[in-house]
């Protein structure tokens, strides 16, 4: 392995000078810098991240804590798009990323312990369950932390603009004449609460009455569950004319049940999703949905994390809200005729 010492010897100077030259310290002559750069390139010198981390106690890497409720893990398009954006921006900012877990071989760590072990400069958290005490422990452990899709523990957060998103959808279906609107929401977390609140409020503003049985708790990314709920909704005495699903995948479960019942979308019942994943745009009828800007959310998470690291004690956590975009499809019938 070619070390800084090797470069130094070859240059006839000390390791200190090489380090300074390569890191752009001011007190190295310009010729020396050039010479050192040349020799370093010639020998193929690559610094050793571990040594650097040990000395500077900065690793230039972010941890990513990701956890959700199904077995699919990262395989939700929304999450993977976010991860993509996060990774890209983190790399631009000079950080590698790795996953923070609770296990390493037969060592079991808490998230906080793992973070301490690897000495991540910052940690992004995206989880369905912010109630987990280990998550709290991590946030309170002192590492810069940014949460996604939830305001939590006073650290920075990146949120999707669920209020406006739901409002836009309500506006849209209301504009097309719908008054009997059902809302299936995901499990009880901040995203669900915000969406339900926004739904109720914008319906109230428009004088639309939402009977209790139109507001149902389901789960995110659970087509079967949403299908079942859809069945119940359509069996009501006065069934809704339009159903809001917690996400696009759940809509597919609903669609399946609707089809089984011999009905069709949007002729017999209208539907809207949430997320705007690609596949929902590939099928017919094209789903009316609200595209969340997952990529940007990921990128902003990296951005905020890097700011937290950079500003250290002066860091003032920000609450970053990312707007989505209504994607009109073919699943909402115009009732105004």
């Amino acid at each position: 392995m070619v070390t800084i010492k090797a470069v130094a010897e070859r240059c006839g100077c000390s390791p200190a000078t090489v380090s300074k030259a390569l890191n752009g310290a001011p007190d190295v002559s310009h010729e020396m810098v050039l010479k050192i750069r040349a020799v370093a390139a010639e020998l193929g010198y690559i610094p050793n991240a571990a040594a650097r981390a040990l000395k500077t106690s900065r690793t230039y890497s972010f941890g990513l804590l990701f956890r959700e409720n199904s077995k699919k893990g990262l395989a939700h398009e929304f999450f993977s798009l976010m991860l993509n954006g996060f990774k890209r921006r983190a790399e631009e900012l000079g950080y590698d990323i790795s996953f923070v877990s609770r296990r390493l071989g037969d060592q079991y760590y808490t998230y906080a312990e793992h973070a301490k072990y690897r000495h991540f400069d910052g940690i992004a958290i995206i989880t369905i369950d912010y109630e987990d005490p280990q998550v709290r422990e991590l946030v309170e452990s002192g590492v810069p932390t940014v949460t996604v899709d939830e305001e939590f523990g006073g650290c920075g957060c990146v949120l999707s603009d669920n209020v406006q998103g739901v409002r836009d959808l309500v506006d849209y279906v209301y504009g097309l004449g719908h008054r009997r609107i059902a809302f299936i929401h995901g499990e009880d977390n901040m995203v669900s609460r915000v969406r339900v609140g926004a739904f109720q409020e914008s319906c109230r503003e428009r004088g639309v009455d939402i009977p209790e049985e139109y507001l149902v708790e389901g789960r995110f990314h659970d087509p079967d569950g949403s299908g079942e709920i859809t069945r119940q909704l359509l069996a009501l005495e006065t069934p809704p004319t339009c159903i809001f699903y917690p996400d696009d995948v759940s809509y597919l479960g609903g669609l399946q049940v609707i089809t089984e019942m011999g009905l069709s979308v949007p002729e017999d019942v209208s539907a809207v999703g949430y997320d705007g994943i690609g596949l929902a745009q590939q099928i017919r009828p094209r789903l009316t949905t609200l595209r969340q800007n997952a990529d940007l959310m990921g990128a902003q998470t990296a951005e905020e994390l890097s700011r937290a690291v950079r500003e250290g004690r002066d860091y003032l956590p920000k609450r970053i809200v990312i707007p989505g975009k209504l994607i009109p499809g073919e699943t909402v019938k115009d009732l105004r005729t």
Copy 2:
């Protein structure tokens, strides 16, 4: 920060003894081990990965090189499922994972340089483009490497059983009476070549003649492209009765075109996909496809990588083939009646 030295002082022994005790070295008395463990737990001692890595030159982390041709990055279900399996198994084996990239802030590295910088113990490569000279450089740089979906450079590899997979599909549609079968394959790489080969061979074995224009090069995960090809296929003088798509997502593009043309699946034209992603099972008609065991492929990649690390110079690369499973759907019409 509570270091090994702090634990040592508190125990009235030397750092060396603490290290040995915690790592299960044989020459520490049992009482001492117990005492040290207790004190370590009490003080909340967590070792410093960087220091350990510096000394042992093992990082206990795997690099993952991932690259594909669209902007979606990880957001292909197949890849993210694989990543999931890889991550899970790697953690069980005692490895963290992080991504290997070509950029860190304003430093541009080659993959090999990045790997050297972070000193990954092993690297998993999954890319659409094994022609990239940087990939070759990485494989030849000496780090243990395992490739996915391609045999490359003599290192270990994990492959999907594309031969059997395509054969199964051919058997299936042949069994249902199809003789005019078109095959859209992905860009020219090992997966495509193997699939095309298997397709041609199993057709030949069954005496099915495949005219040149039935074998078309498309791209993976490209619904629009596949749609266009579908249009051309159906415009042929004798159009195919069944179309093989390079993957499930591409099928959706085809389906769209078919529908636009006023035709329907499977009444007018049959179709099969490849991958077995969840969404293709949620829509109607349910896609007939070949599910690749992406999770297991990921897990086996971690396994093989860990073996490579463990066995060092004695390591003999393995070629691991993971079988898939035919998922009969509703997109292939029975022509035998």
